[in-house]
């Protein structure tokens, strides 16, 4: 956790990349720009990327632009916070992550992450982005619980979530259909008290 240099002052700074709110050692989280749509599309219709997403491919570019606009509106009403994951050194967009379905009274939200760019897999960038997002969720938008669902076959993701402190809470049996079979969705959650200790 200490390796992540989290600086809220970027919120108010007038640096050229003003949208870099959340910055870690290797990646930063920033709002999506419309220009990101084509970057996303380069990777997004890849079955290996889409396997664990509950949406039918393929996507079109205008659809992605619309999605990006939706993230702006959803952030304003506090329903979802979706951010682009940028690799700092190369300034490449490598993925997206977010807190969505935010329940204001229960102070909880669901977490998602996807690294579009496979060249950047397996180097800890996802973990770092998630640490930033969890700090954002607990410290800045005052969530009490962050939870997620992940596919039973996605062992890599499960290891990452467990390393970050998420506790397995059970499953929804055969709740997701892809590539010809039904798969269980595993439920994980993390309380603010566990994360901030």
């Amino acid at each position: 956790m200490n390796s992540v240099n989290f600086t809220l002052q970027h919120l108010h700074s007038l640096r050229p990349r003003v949208s870099n709110v959340l910055e870690g050692k290797s990646v930063c989280l920033r709002g999506f720009e419309l220009a990101d749509a084509s970057k996303i599309l380069e990777h997004f219709n890849d079955i290996e990327i889409r396997r664990f997403m509950d949406m039918p491919a393929p996507h079109s570019q205008e659809q992605e632009e619309q999605w990006i606009r939706n993230t702006w509106d959803a952030r304003k009403i506090g329903r979802c916070h979706y951010y682009a994951i940028e690799h700092k050194q190369s300034t490449q967009l490598i993925g997206g992550c977010g807190l969505f379905s935010i329940e204001k009274i229960n102070r909880r939200g669901e977490l998602m992450i996807i690294l579009y760019n496979k060249e950047y897999w397996g180097q800890g960038f996802g973990t770092e982005a998630l640490q930033l997002l969890l700090q954002f969720g607990f410290k800045h938008i005052n969530l009490k619980t962050i939870y997620l669902y992940t596919h039973d076959t996605n062992k890599r993701a499960q290891r990452v979530y467990e390393k970050l402190g998420f506790k397995p809470g059970g499953r929804r049996r055969q709740a997701s259909y892809f590539e010809g079979t039904y798969h269980d969705l595993l439920y994980y959650d993390l309380l603010a008290s566990e994360f901030l200790d």
Binding site: I105, R107, T145, G170, R171, R172, R173, Q174, Y187
Partner: protein
């Protein structure tokens, strides 16, 4: 009992029971609702049914023709072929009489035998022991616990997730033709 679509005039019956803390603690946050809001909600159930995203029905008790509650399969997912179950018996004088249990059987039969679902899940607050017993008796399994997931009356409570698969439901509650008539559809 009969499951039937809601009519706008049902809003009044709903209102007579719905702004009640003892009932609402089990359903979510007890935010007061108005009659016109309920009418809009009823219209929304019609639209959602047409889109196939939600099947929400009133529960009518057959003896006196009283509307006593509602039940629903919502967030119907067409690829994963699953949905979430919700049920409420608003009329507290009719609690503990097996009405909820019968309505759940009907709506699950509707889900598995009419709209071809593969699984049905539900969420229930951990303090709602009566409901949990009913779901267990009907064959739902405890599959997950969401820690401190709901804030009711000053406290956070765990939420249980339970689910049932089509083949499990078929063994326990095989298709019985009269249920189709009972839906009134």
């Amino acid at each position: 009992m009969t499951l039937r679509g809601f009519e706008l005039k049902d809003a009044e019956t709903i209102l007579a029971h719905f702004n009640d803390l003892e009932l609402r603690q089990f359903l979510g946050h007890p935010l007061p609702v108005s009659k016109q809001e309920e009418e809009e909600w009823i219209r929304r159930t019609w639209e959602a049914r047409q889109k196939g995203t939600e099947y929400t029905f009133g529960i009518e008790e057959n003896n006196k023709g009283l509307l006593v509650g509602s039940c629903s399969l919502f967030d119907v997912h067409s690829i994963n072929r699953n949905a979430e179950l919700g049920i409420a018996i608003w009329n507290k004088s009719l609690w503990d009489k097996g009405i909820g249990s019968e309505a759940i059987q009907l709506i699950c039969s509707y889900g598995f035998y009419l709209i071809n679902l593969h699984s049905i899940f539900l969420r229930v607050h951990d303090f709602n022991k009566r409901a949990i017993r009913v779901y267990e008796k009907l064959g739902f399994q405890h599959v997950a616990r969401k820690r401190e997931a709901v804030f009711i009356d000053g406290k956070y409570h765990d939420v249980h997730v339970m689910d049932i698969l089509e083949d499990e439901f078929r063994k326990l509650h095989p298709p019985a033709p009269p249920f189709i008539a009972a839906t009134g559809e």
